[in-house]
């Protein structure tokens, strides 16, 4: 039951109760896989009240109805309020470690030196992730020169792609990189910003792609590893199913897909096999229809 006296109120005097928050958390978990427990109560209350105020809903019931109908893309707004939207180099580093310690070893089993390894970052936002993948491979994979590695970064947002192509980043984006690495792969430009090494910048192809557009996605095939982080949580159930099938087609047989930390493909689609490695859980397109099904 609610205890109105201690609960946050928005500028319009909106209050939320414990039961409101539980209802919201169950909905969010079912809808997105994001899990919030009681020790984050104050954090949730604050953001929930902010969204109720921002949408002028006036009360939790009215806001919850808005959220459930996903009018005005409110689910996206709410998720944004609950998540860290900024991206930076080497975000979710454990997946990059997993790539070099486990995934690539399996990928090259079926390849000869000199053959291609294809890696896709979608959505790639302003390029931090594909560049991180390239730098990580240069720094951490001893076989990096033995294969032709193709890295593609795609996003639906053409402004983000333009920024990715320019490759200029501020200090916050580089905060996880050592000074040595920054020195090797970036050049300082004005106002404390750094520009990615031109050779690296020219090595990565940036393209526009929409995950739920099957005809557009048909151009992308044969990827060995796909990084697809923190985007499926924004989709509704039917879009997620379509995206999962599109991603399946984009992967080579036996290829891997890395999702964001709050996402699980098994909640979305049975098409993929769960693979637990020491650094990360990733999903694999089975080698055949009799493999893992």
């Amino acid at each position: 039951m609610g205890t109105a006296g201690s609960e946050p109120r928005g500028p319009r005097g909106v209050r939320v109760t414990q039961e409101d928050v539980r209802r919201l958390c169950e909905f969010l978990y079912r809808r997105t896989g994001m899990l919030f427990d009681d020790n984050k109560r104050y954090y949730i209350d604050r953001r929930l009240v902010e969204r109720i105020d921002a949408t002028k809903s006036g009360s939790f019931p009215a806001y919850f109805a808005l959220l459930r109908s996903d009018a005005d893309h409110e689910i996206e707004q709410l998720i944004n309020a609950f998540t860290v939207n900024e991206t930076y180099f080497n975000r979710e580093e454990h997946q990059l470690r997993c790539m070099t310690s486990d995934l690539l070893g399996n990928v090259i089993r079926g390849k000869r030196p000199g053959e291609s390894i294809r890696i896709w970052s979608i959505p790639c936002s302003s390029g931090e992730e594909p560049y991180s993948i390239a730098i990580w491979l240069m720094e951490n994979w001893r076989l990096v020169d033995s294969y032709n590695i193709e890295i593609v970064g795609s996003d639906i947002d053409t402004r983000a792609l333009k920024a990715a192509g320019e490759g200029v980043y501020g200090a916050r984006a580089l905060m996880r990189l050592s000074r040595d690495v920054i020195g090797r792969y970036f050049q300082p430009v004005a106002d404390g910003e750094h520009r990615i090494d031109p050779g690296l910048r020219e090595s990565i192809q940036f393209t526009r792609a929409n995950l739920i557009d099957s005809s557009e996605m048909a151009r992308y095939r044969g990827f060995d590893i796909v990084f697809c982080r923190n985007v499926l949580i924004y989709f509704d159930d039917s879009s997620r199913r379509i995206a999962a099938e599109n991603l399946y087609d984009c992967l080579a047989a036996g290829g891997y897909i890395c999702l964001g930390h709050s996402e699980t493909m098994s909640r979305i689609s049975p098409l993929f096999r769960v693979c637990r490695f020491s650094d990360a859980i990733v999903y694999q397109r089975p080698e055949s229809d009799h493999d893992g099904r």
């Binding site: 109805a65 048909a218 509704d236 159930d237 199913r241 689609s269 049975p270």
Partner: protein
């Protein structure tokens, strides 16, 4: 640099497969491909037919004979993308499947179609099979609160199976309105000898009452 760059956008789709873009494509080749002995061809055909109303009869037939789980999944997604009453009719029989994965897949597809599902809900919730009634309560979860409340309250008034009641109560706790309180209270009274149900009802009423101010 060990990296190579190719023009991804110039790369044609894999040869020999039907294109995924169904919007401007002819229907006939895809319908034929649904019966191909090649799994990849059937998979691509099912994907290409997503959202095509005129393909629903063929997709329905294909779903009835398809043995490969991946292709069955794609056919269900294709029907979901059509999303009309005919596609709901095609998906409904799989709620009765003995295969849990198949039941799950049909539930997920049908949940994405709350508008088209609505006319089918009352008969489903009155079905002679308690498993079907239980799954139907889950289908109400994505419906507008007023519709879900009305449907589930009607179920609770007569439902004899405690597990079906529990499933309905769980959905009402999330999406129900205050109008559900009388039906919930009556259910708790009727199942007083089954302690978990009055407990579940008390939680649902607390949430509904507290929220629906």
């Amino acid at each position: 640099m060990p990296f190579v760059k190719r023009d991804v956008t110039a790369r044609p789709p894999a040869g020999g497969r039907p294109a995924d873009d169904a919007v401007h494509a002819d229907l006939a080749p895809h319908l034929t491909a649904l019966g191909s002995p090649d799994i990849e061809v059937r998979w691509s055909a099912a994907r290409a037919l997503g959202g095509r109303t005129d393909a629903v009869p063929a997709l329905t037939t294909a779903l009835g004979v398809e043995q490969v789980a991946r292709v069955r999944e794609a056919i269900m997604t294709a029907l979901m993308r059509v999303g009309d009453e005919a596609s709901v009719v095609a998906l409904l029989p799989y709620l009765r499947s003995q295969d849990a994965a198949e039941r799950g897949a049909s539930i997920e597809a049908l949940q994405a179609l709350p508008g088209a599902m609505l006319p089918f809900m009352a008969p489903l919730l009155a079905d002679g099979d308690s498993d079907v009634r239980l799954l139907a309560t889950e289908l109400a979860r994505n419906m507008p609160a007023e519709d879900a409340t009305q449907l589930l309250c009607r179920l609770l008034e007569h439902e004899q199976h405690p597990n079906v009641c529990a499933a309905a109560i769980d959905v009402l706790a999330e999406v129900g309105t205050r109008d559900a309180v009388p039906a919930l209270e009556a259910c708790a009274e009727r199942f007083a000898g089954t302690p978990f149900l009055p407990f579940a009802v008390s939680i649902a009423i607390a949430r509904i009452s507290d929220t629906d101010r």
